[in-house]
Structures are given as structure tokens and as C-alpha cells.
């Protein structure tokens, strides 16, 4: 320092030195979001900036401090303890961090992590506690803020698609200070109403927005529900305590809707499949059977072929019959002629024979004739009526009798008989 014309004049180094001395007396906590972060290439310490809406505070931190932070350094909100300092060569002031911990969301996240760990150790997330969602749920209660996107998404993907689902709504606050009391009040009632499933949902948001669903009391209540429960809080990336204790965790309201309607969707799919199979199978069945019938009809029309030879057979039979007839007739005629010839011949012989017999008979007759007998010396005696007397018994004494000789006859009277 020098004094010229009554003016105290400091060198730059002195100013920076004094400033440094003064600043370094100031030790405090500061809360801010880490907006940039880099390592000093030569030394094992880091430069980082903490910011709020309006200002930036340059900071330096040693490695162990950085190591205690979440892996994603940039963007996280921290509480930093330390003191201000000044880098004299540049006159640049900075905050030297001696201790750092999560703040804001980071803090909430840390608390949440601890809570998750606690409930997990108690076994609240165990599989054995998970109830199954019925395959075809009919009566569903959605617990959310009516009119929200989450609500609309869910309704669009459940009751609109599958009107068989009776959808009931329990309107609750899903963020702010009344959210937890609202959930604690509504859920036990809903649980007693005999729903097939309860769906608790809300859209995405910051960790503060989702706070009610990371509340221990709410989580324990959801765990104790007797009704199968699906919890879908926030977007894909958000995870909440309530999702851990729920029977089924869904990533989004639409995902929750798909879980609820899964059975129906599969049913529709398999029905569609069956429909297609029905169509193709029946088409096949009919074309096959029509063909079969056509073929059979063709065969039926072929029956005439079975009998097509009949006229021919009949004709040839007729022919052969005619032939046989001729043969038969001519044979008969020949036979008849032969027979006639034979007959003639036989007849002639017969006649000849008879003639001979007759001749012989005639001879005998002539030999035996009465004339012949008389000529041999015999006579014939007759009674008065001219009847030949063959026995003495026919002769009556005193009666007249005739006697015939070869050359004449006489009449005499019977004197006696012996």
C-alpha cells in the first residue's frame, strides 16, 4: 500500500488478499442446483457451479465431496456447506465446499429411498402379498382426480373399449397438502365396496408433485387393502412408494388400463382368431363336401354304364336262342321223319305178319270145319229146333232129332238113352 497525495493506494494483490481474508471468514450452508461440473485437469478437485433462478455461484470441491453426490452430478439440487474464498491471481471468488448433501428433490429422493428400504425390510413388497387382478374384472374403481389426463386416459382405454367394465370413480386430490388426507379418507371406503380391482393413478410430475404417493401412511394403507390394487403414478420413469406396495405396478394410466383389460383383450384376440379359423375351416368344409357330392352325383350318373351292355347281352341271347331254335326244329323233324320211316316199316311187317297168321288160322279153320269133320265120317245131331246137341242131357226120350251126314241127313225118334 502506498499513500500519494493523501490517497491510500492498494495493489491488486493486496485487494485480492484482503478480500480473500474477509470472504474466508464467512462459513454457511447454501442450497442450489449444480449447473456445470468439471474436473481440474492437474489436481484432484472439481469445479462446479451452483445456480438458482437468477444467479450462479462458482464452487470448488474435493473428490470425496463429489463422490458423496448422486451419479448424475449436473442438475441435482444440493445443500452445500463451506466458506467463500477468492482465487487471488484472477480475483475470482468461489465457494469452497466442505460438505454436501441432497436437497430439495434430492433430499426427498433420499428420504424416499430410505422409506423404500424400510418398507422393503418389513416385507411389504414381497411377492406373497401380491393379489392377482381378476382376469375379467367387471367392477372397477379408479381413484384419481376426475377430469385429469390420467383419468381420461384410463377411461378411454377401459370402459370405452370394453363397456362390460363398470367403472366407478373416487375423486381424490392427487397433489398438495390435502392429497394425503384425501387418500387416507377415501381408500378404506372404496376397499369395502366389493370392487374387482382398485386403480390408483395420477399423471407424471416432479417428486414434490408425487409426494402423496410416497407417503408412508398412504403406502401402508394401500398395502392393507383387501381389493386387488393397481397403482400407476406418473410417467414411465417415475417410481413411487405406492407402486412398490401395490399388487400390480403400472407405468402409466394407460398401462394400468391395459393391465385391467388384458383378459378382455386376449379374449377379443382369440375370438378374432377363432373367427378366422371358423371362416377358413367352414370354407374348406363346404368346398370339400360340395366336391364330394358332385363326385358322387357323377358316379350316380355313371350307373347307366353298369347296364349299358344289357341290350347287347339280350340281343346276343336272342340270337343264340334263335340259333338253338332252328337246330332244335330241324333235329326234331329229322327224328320225326326217321320215326315215320320206322313206323311205316314196322307197320308193313306187322301187316305181313298178321296176314300170315290169318292164313294159318284160315287153314286151321278149314281143317276144323264141320264139313271136313263130316267128310271124315262123323255126324252132327240136332234137336227139333236145329240146335246142335252136345250132351246126352239135352236129349229127351220120344222126341224127334236130326242127324246130319257128309252126304245127307235123316230124322229119327229117340227110343231110350243111357
Amino acid at each position: 500500500m502506498k499513500v500519494i497525495e493523501g490517497k491510500k493506494i492498494y495493489t491488486v494483490s493486496e485487494v485480492n488478499y484482503f478480500a480473500k481474508q474477509t470472504l474466508e471468514e464467512m462459513t454457511f450452508w447454501v442450497e442450489g442446483e449444480i449447473s456445470s461440473f468439471k474436473k481440474n485437469p492437474n489436481w484432484n478437485f472439481y469445479y462446479l457451479d451452483l445456480k438458482d433462478e437468477n444467479a450462479v455461484l462458482p464452487c470448488i470441491a474435493e473428490e470425496f465431496i463429489v463422490g458423496s453426490l448422486k451419479r448424475e452430478i449436473t442438475g441435482q439440487r444440493i445443500l452445500a456447506h463451506g466458506n467463500l474464498s477468492l482465487y487471488e491471481p484472477f480475483g475470482k471468488y468461489q465457494f469452497r465446499i466442505s460438505k454436501a448433501e441432497a436437497a430439495g428433490e434430492g433430499l426427498l429422493q433420499k428420504q424416499l429411498d430410505e422409506l423404500v428400504k424400510k418398507l422393503k425390510n418389513e416385507g411389504l413388497f414381497e411377492k406373497q402379498h401380491k393379489k392377482n387382478i381378476p382376469k375379467y374384472p367387471r367392477k372397477i374403481c379408479i381413484v384419481t382426480s376426475v377430469g385429469s389426463d390420467a383419468y381420461n386416459d384410463f377411461v378411454r382405454h377401459t370402459a370405452y373399449k370394453f363397456p362390460i367394465i363398470e367403472l366407478y370413480t373416487a375423486d381424490v386430490r392427487v397433489q398438495g397438502i390435502s392429497a394425503v388426507p384425501s387418500l387416507l379418507k377415501v381408500l378404506p371406503g372404496v376397499d369395502k365396496m366389493g370392487f374387482d380391482a382398485i386403480v390408483i393413478t395420477r399423471g407424471g410430475g416432479s417428486i414434490e408433485d408425487l409426494a402423496a404417493f410416497n407417503d408412508e401412511q398412504v403406502a401402508r394403507l394401500i398395502f392393507s387393502l383387501k381389493t386387488p390394487t393397481v397403482v400407476a403414478i406418473g410417467h414411465e420413469a417415475n417410481e413411487s412408494l405406492c407402486e412398490w406396495v401395490a399388487d400390480v405396478r403400472a407405468s402409466t394410466p394407460t398401462d394400468a388400463a391395459n393391465i385391467i383389460t388384458f383378459g378382455y383383450q386376449s379374449l377379443v384376440e382369440s375370438l378374432d382368431q377363432l373367427g378366422l379359423r371358423l371362416k377358413s375351416n367352414s370354407a374348406y368344409y363346404f368346398s370339400a363336401n360340395f366336391q364330394r357330392l358332385d363326385h358322387i352325383f357323377f358316379k350316380l350318373t355313371q350307373t347307366k354304364n353298369t347296364f349299358k351292355d344289357l341290350p347287347h347281352i339280350i340281343n346276343s341271347l336272342k340270337e343264340s336262342l334263335r340259333r338253338h331254335e332252328k337246330l332244335l326244329v330241324s333235329a326234331s323233324q329229322t327224328k320225326l321223319e326217321e320215326l315215320t320211316k320206322l313206323l311205316k316199316k314196322d307197320f308193313f311187317l306187322l301187316v305181313e305178319n298178321k296176314k300170315q297168321i290169318l292164313k294159318n288160322l284160315n287153314k286151321s279153320l278149314i281143317l276144323l270145319s264141320p264139313q271136313n269133320t263130316l267128310s271124315r265120317g262123323y255126324s252132327i245131331t240136332t234137336d227139333k229146333s236145329g240146335r246142335i246137341i252136345r250132351s246126352i242131357k239135352s236129349v229127351v226120350v220120344d222126341e224127334l232129332i236130326g242127324v246130319k251126314f257128309k252126304d245127307g241127313s235123316l230124322r229119327s225118334k229117340v227110343i231110350s238113352k243111357q
Binding site: Q265, G275, S282, F290, L293, Q302
Partner: protein, 74 residues
């Protein structure tokens, strides 16, 4: 058509029909028997065809009416 034929279902009628065709193809078929079989066969063929056509129409109608609208269960 005999009363018996009317009580036959499609498969029974078809089986009988094929039996008839087989008999008709036999070389030792008697004319009267063949005629009777042919008569029965033609009647059965008509019966089968009518049944099949009716069923086909009905199934087409059912499948047309039953087209499932995209993802909807009522």
C-alpha cells in the same frame, strides 16, 4: 323320399350315399336293385346338397353378422 332318409343327418346320408355308389359300381348288380339304389342315391344326393347349401348360407350369414368390431366386448 323315405321317412328314414329324412331322419338321417348329413354325415349319415353321405355315408349311405357312398355305400350306394359302391354298390352301383359292383359288376353283378341286378337291374331292379340298381334302379332302386339309383333312385335312393339321387334322393340322398339332393338331400345332402340341400342340407349343405342351407348350412353354408347360414354360416356365411352368421360370420357376416358376427364380425367382431375392433376390440369391443359387449
Amino acid at each position: 323320399m323315405s321317412k328314414l332318409q329324412k331322419t338321417l343327418n348329413f354325415t349319415q346320408a353321405l355315408t349311405r350315399l357312398e355305400e350306394i355308389v359302391e354298390k352301383l359300381e359292383s359288376p353283378n348288380l341286378d337291374l331292379e336293385d340298381g334302379l332302386k339304389l339309383l333312385e335312393e342315391g339321387v334322393a340322398l344326393h339332393k338331400l345332402c346338397k340341400n342340407k349343405l347349401t342351407a348350412a353354408n348360407t347360414k354360416i356365411s350369414d352368421i360370420l357376416k353378422d358376427g364380425d367382431i368390431k375392433d376390440g369391443e366386448v359387449n
